[in-house]
Amino acid sequence: MSDAAHAHDDHGHHAHPAGIMRWLTTTNHKDIGSLYLWFSLIMLFTAGSMALLIRSELFEPGMQLMHPDFFNQLTTMHGLIMIFGVIMPAFTGFANWQVPLMIGAPDMAFPRMNNWSFWLLPVAGIMLLGSFWLPGGAVAGGWTMYPPLFIQGGVSYDLTILAVHIMGLSSIMGSINIITTILNMRAPGLTLMKMPMFVWTWLITAYLLIATMPVLAGAVTMLLTDRNFGTHFFNAAGGGDPVMFQHIFWFFGHPEVYILILPAFGIISQIIPTFARKPLFGYASMVYATASIAILSFTVWAHHMFAVGMPVAAQLFFMFSTMLIAVPTGVKVFNWVATMWKGSLTFETPMLFAIAFVCLFTIGGFSGLVLAMAPVDIQLQDTYYVVAHFHYVLVSGALFSIFAGIYFWLPKWTGHMYNETLGKVHFWLSVIGMNIVFFPMHFLGLAGMPRRIPDYALQFTEFNQIATVGAFIFGFSQLVFLYVVLKAIKGGAKASDRVWEGAEGLEWTLPSPAPYHTFETAPVVK
């Protein structure tokens, strides 16, 4: 309440600028969600183009298209951008759009901080991409930034460290916003155990982010001081320990893997019950499984570094703790299958992607179990088997869940139904293309082909050629996705409020498209 003759506190509701200023200054969670998603899409095409260049070079043995150092730059930047510029921003975009709608909140708890969280990202993205034009080119030591390579590189390495800091700051602000929004702005009656699974998974993801980001920030800062200020944290020449960087990095890095997949679990847990027309099987066990995965993720980091050498007891501990994660993950897969069991299933595009997620993510999970075994991992370390494993987790896992989520909520966001036929074309091209790219990599890895090399022995040619053909099918099929999204934004059949027959939740009580301001008064959840 305010006195117009004195202060006039309108909470920013009464005016929102148009044009570019709307997007620069917006504090609206829907605008910011859209910004995150568009940024992510642009980065997907950028890093995806890098992947196609990589696959083009690998079409034949020998050096065809590029200098080996540029190949290394592409692999490094592909990894960094896909993780920090595509998957994480996309999930944050979903959180911005959906969390307030799902919990009956009018916006995020700190809308201005939300604006800052987003606008830091393009700055970091420009720094990363701009480093290609610096002397020496972009970073080429792998996305994990291991010393000594990362200590020895040119100026782009400093710029990358700064970019990682900025992205980390963005993530921390975003996470604090999400935690405070979920915990403090739930509608009356919406207890924690009534929250949609997507909200739960994001709450836990935000906890993970806050717990691990200082570790990443500290690690890259120590790299920076080693590079520029004469310290020797990781510089063996000065008595430092480069292996310790790997420990510190993966202490952040493995929870980061779950940061990349837990929101995917949440999206899939929203979609499957909708198209099975049944409530999610074992809701409580899903919540506890998510929390268990998050807690266990702090105890498994050294499975990434069995090959660097460690005591047998440590190998056993990290091997068994890694295998233990299969238990809560298995609970989730079982619950998704049980939700579909005897459901009244229909197979719209979001459901197709969700089913593909369950099947293909499980393959990625199983290959993860294979790699969890220390003696096997030592054989497969840094081979294409590892590449196949994490792409099954991150492409058919994280990326497919993003596609599923966009098809699922796009009618609510735009007010228009997308073209179902084209959506299915996109699905089938993606799922076939993805398997053609990454399945042969298992065989390449088992046969001993190392990762991160621009040239290879002749016996690996056929599988590499198959993978490259698949990469182009998968890559170009994403243009269909772009067309479907743009078409739905521009027009199409009017979406109803509930959109999907089996949809449950507060967001489906709103009109389609969701109005600019929603839930200014919290609904009461029974």
Binding site: M1, S2, D3, A4, A5, H6, A7, H8, D9, D10, H11, H13, H14, A15, H16, A105, P106, D107, M108, A109, F110, P111, M113, I172, M173, I176, N177, I179, T180, L183, N184, M185, R186, A187, P188, L190, Y207, I210, A211, M213, P214, V215, A217, G218, A219, T221, M222, T225, F233, M244, I248, F251, Y516, H517, E520, T521, A522, P523, V524
Partner: protein
């Protein structure tokens, strides 16, 4: 951002003499933002995160990798600020009282607060919903000054409050 409690019950009270009046027969309308996080839960959230961050960063500091610690401290500081900002909004409220010839408006938002009294015969309800895409703005006007009310309400609830106030002021 303030997050209002459901105004539906409040509005039902406004529409009904019996429910809207207190023991003395005065008309009282109160609204406040919704906060689903209690003090105890806030403390739990803070310390659960702070403990994990400080424990891991202290562990690395003991091994000599102390540069993680300042980042953990900064992050915990930011979290503390965020939770404190939420706490500072817990006491926000708006109260509108019509008692005899006096219309009294009291509010508290963050660190700001105020109170204004108007003569019932001079008070006018001003409801501006003219600009498309904007929220309705509801205020009480008297002697050339407008005091905005109903900030924690939806547009629909503001319109209903406006109608109820007009009836009350004309009665």
């Amino acid at each position: 951002m303030p997050h209002p409690v459901s105004s539906i019950h409040d509005m039902e009270q406004v529409d009904t003499e019996d429910c809207g009046g207190d023991a003395s027969g005065a008309f009282v309308f109160q609204s406040r933002p919704n906060h689903s996080l209690t003090h105890g839960q806030q403390r739990f959230v803070f310390w659960s995160l702070a403990a994990v961050c400080l424990a891991t960063s202290s562990g690395f500091a003991l091994l000599g990798y102390w540069l993680i610690l300042p980042f953990a401290g900064l992050e915990i500081g930011l979290l503390a600020w965020a939770l404190e900002a939420l706490r500072s909004r817990e006491g926000d409220y708006e109260t509108l009282t019509i008692e005899g010839d006096v219309v009294r408006v009291e509010w508290h938002a963050g660190t700001r607060g105020g109170r204004r009294e108007m003569n019932r015969r001079w008070a006018r309800v001003v409801c501006d919903c003219r600009t498309p895409g904007r929220n309705c703005r509801l205020s009480l006007s008297s002697h050339g000054r407008e005091t905005e009310i109903g900030q924690y309400l939806s547009d629909e609830a503001r319109l209903r409050l406006a109608a109820a106030l007009r009836r009350k002021l004309q009665a």
